[in-house]
């Protein structure tokens, strides 16, 4: 008995030591792979165009904020951010408002066609935006909403409402049904119960759903570009148009890119434990 433990323990120790190192090495390499492209974007955003096209350097020689100044003072640039944020916020509020009661219904009750409906919602989350680009363009042109924030916000509900319903349902199923029943016995009406008791219980779920609605609307380009021309043009679309122009200012383009990363980077810490759950539609 003693002999086996003696031989076993040191063997485990010699095995464990290099393994820990290997894991750290792999992890470090992977994080470097992720961060170097982002570093390059930030580095170029701090350089003038002449410096970028001149001698090749690994870090900015004379860091300058001139590119950011261009974006923050030129309306044709900064209005892109205003437009993007406007339709993203409208979309997030709208998606959550309709998804909350629906997710409650799916998590608590069975009703005629519930499974079909749930599946149909999923297909919309999975639908390729390319299929919808042309009909959306015609639909919103026909009703006079083309080039408005509402049009993009409504178009993005195509994938954000199903996403919000699925994520919220995933969180709601974790709340025991006894709480609902107790509240009804105590004489709470449904709306009162829902807003006062239920919503605080799934506050983190609502936060995660809001974050993902915001994110997916923020990163989308195809629909927002198709549905806007001038007045509601999102920053993403302004950036692609700049790319296709000839006399291209790399520094400003990179600065614009860095600014689009900021909203995600600001809140990422708070949702770090839910990222997998959010991407997997509330499952996992």
């Amino acid at each position: 008995m003693a002999a086996t433990t003696e031989t076993y323990a040191p063997a485990a120790r010699t095995l464990a030591l290099p393994r820990v190192n290997l894991r750290a090495v792999v992890m470090t390499l992977y994080l470097l792979f992720l961060l170097i492209p982002i570093y390059w974007l930030i580095k170029m955003s701090l350089q003038t165009n002449r410096e970028i096209l001149g001698a090749f350097t690994l870090w900015p020689q004379n860091p300058t904020l001139a590119n950011y100044r261009v974006i923050l003072t030129d309306p044709s640039w900064y209005m892109g951010y205003v437009n993007s944020i406007t339709y993203v916020v409208i979309n997030t509020v709208l998606s959550l408002a309709v998804a909350l009661p629906a997710a409650y219904a799916f998590s608590r009750y069975r009703f005629l066609g519930d499974k079909h409906l749930f599946f149909w919602l999923l297909t919309n989350r999975m639908a390729p935006p390319a299929v919808f680009a042309l009909p959306f363009f015609q639909l919103y042109s026909a009703v006079g909403l083309f080039d408005t924030h509402i049009a993009v916000a409504l178009a993005h509900t195509l994938f954000n409402v199903p996403l919000a319903v699925w994520i919220l349902e995933g969180f709601m199923r974790g709340v025991p049904r006894e709480i609902d029943e107790t509240a009804y016995i105590d004489g709470y009406s449904f709306p009162h119960f829902f807003v006062r008791i239920f919503m605080p219980l799934i506050a983190s779920g609502i936060g995660v759903a809001a974050f993902f609605c915001f994110m997916f609307s923020w990163v989308e380009l195809l629909l927002s570009r198709t549905l806007t021309a001038v007045n509601a043009q999102p920053i993403a679309s302004i950036m692609t148009r700049t790319v296709s122009a000839s006399g291209l200012d790399w520094g400003v383009l990179c600065a614009a890119g860095v600014l689009t990363i900021i909203p995600g980077a600001l809140v990422i810490y708070f949702v770090r434990n839910y990222i997998a759950k959010g991407f997997a539609l509330g499952r996992v």
């Binding site: 961060l35 970028i52 639908a127 990163v219 499952r283």
Partner: protein, 289 residues
């Protein structure tokens, strides 16, 4: 886990139904409409039957796009799934490094897709980009705008950069749900690291890995923005995947009939995969609940 039957729950679902019907069903009906009609312009349409479907199904252009799409999805899955699992196994389990890793890994997932394209477009250029410059220094003249193989490499590497973290995060979530007792039991049995992975970790991760595979398949199957920004589908049509080709057809050339038929067939594939996804999800739910 028996839910009571309550038909009034329909009223709670109604707003979603109306909204999604407006943004999904009406546009889809327009597509169906176009797919069976032809026009000589002036908004005069006439019945064309299944002509467009036949044309799309036999068109070499669509076949090419579909083939490239399948190849792309296959390559991307073959790299991202094993790599993602490996990364998840290498992640720290506790301490402040967990948060650091989670935040840094999630960063690429939250970058707008066109910026992802821009980042790699710049990185791969041999005059101003780090990657292009490094390859140049090694004696490889890297030019993704001219060389189809280089275009493919940069698009695949970009997708690996963009989405591997998703697989890793899902796999990590699966790993964390394994009770410590399993590892202790394995240690008592003196199971090798490989055996622990093969007989404990892999079976426990099966559910999340299925989700990861399906999500990555769906999203890579409808990829548009990133390759559009980097290569614009070129050189020639070397990297025009299904969505890029469809948008070219529908909004570029305004070939409504073929584009609509193409859309419907595309949507059918998506529907099929969605159904698999749904079945997997509900099976997992039942296993857990």
């Amino acid at each position: 886990m028996d839910k009571p039957v309550n038909q009034k729950a329909w009223f709670l679902v109604l707003p979603v139904l109306v909204l999604v019907a407006f943004s999904a069903v009406i546009p889809l009906m327009t597509v169906v409409n176009y797919s069976v009609q032809d026009t000589f312009g002036n908004n005069v349409f006439f019945w064309h039957g299944i002509g467009w479907f036949q044309e799309v199904l036999t068109s070499p252009r669509v076949h090419g796009a579909f083939g490239r799409q399948l190849l792309f999805s296959a390559i991307v899955l073959a790299i991202q799934i094993p790599l993602g699992v490996a990364i998840a196994l290498c992640m720290p389990r506790r301490g402040i490094w967990v948060s650091v890793c989670l935040v840094l890994m999630a960063l690429p997932l939250l970058i707008p897709w066109n910026v992802v394209g821009t980042i790699w477009q710049i990185l791969g250029r041999s005059d101003i980009g780090l990657l292009g410059r490094a390859l140049d220094a090694m004696g490889i003249s890297f030019n993704y705008a001219r060389n189809p193989l280089h275009a493919w490499i940069i698009v695949v590497v970009m997708d690996v950069w963009h989405w591997t973290s998703l697989v890793a995060l899902l796999a990590y979530a699966g790993l964390r749900s394994i009770p410590q007792a399993y590892y202790q039991a394995a240690e008592i049995d003196q199971a090798s690291r490989w055996k622990v992975f093969r007989y404990i970790e892999l079976p426990k991760m099966r559910g999340v890995l299925l989700i990861a595979v399906l999500l990555r398949f769906m999203d890579s199957f409808m990829i548009y923005t990133e390759p559009f920004v980097v290569t614009g589908g070129g050189p020639g049509s070397a990297t025009s995947f299904l969505s890029i080709d469809l948008v070219k057809m529908a909004l570029g050339q305004f070939d409504l009939g073929p584009a609509a038929a193409f859309s419907l067939l595309y949507f059918l594939v998506i529907l099929l995969v969605s159904w698999v996804f749904y079945t997997v999800m509900t099976t997992i739910d039942r296993a857990e609940g």
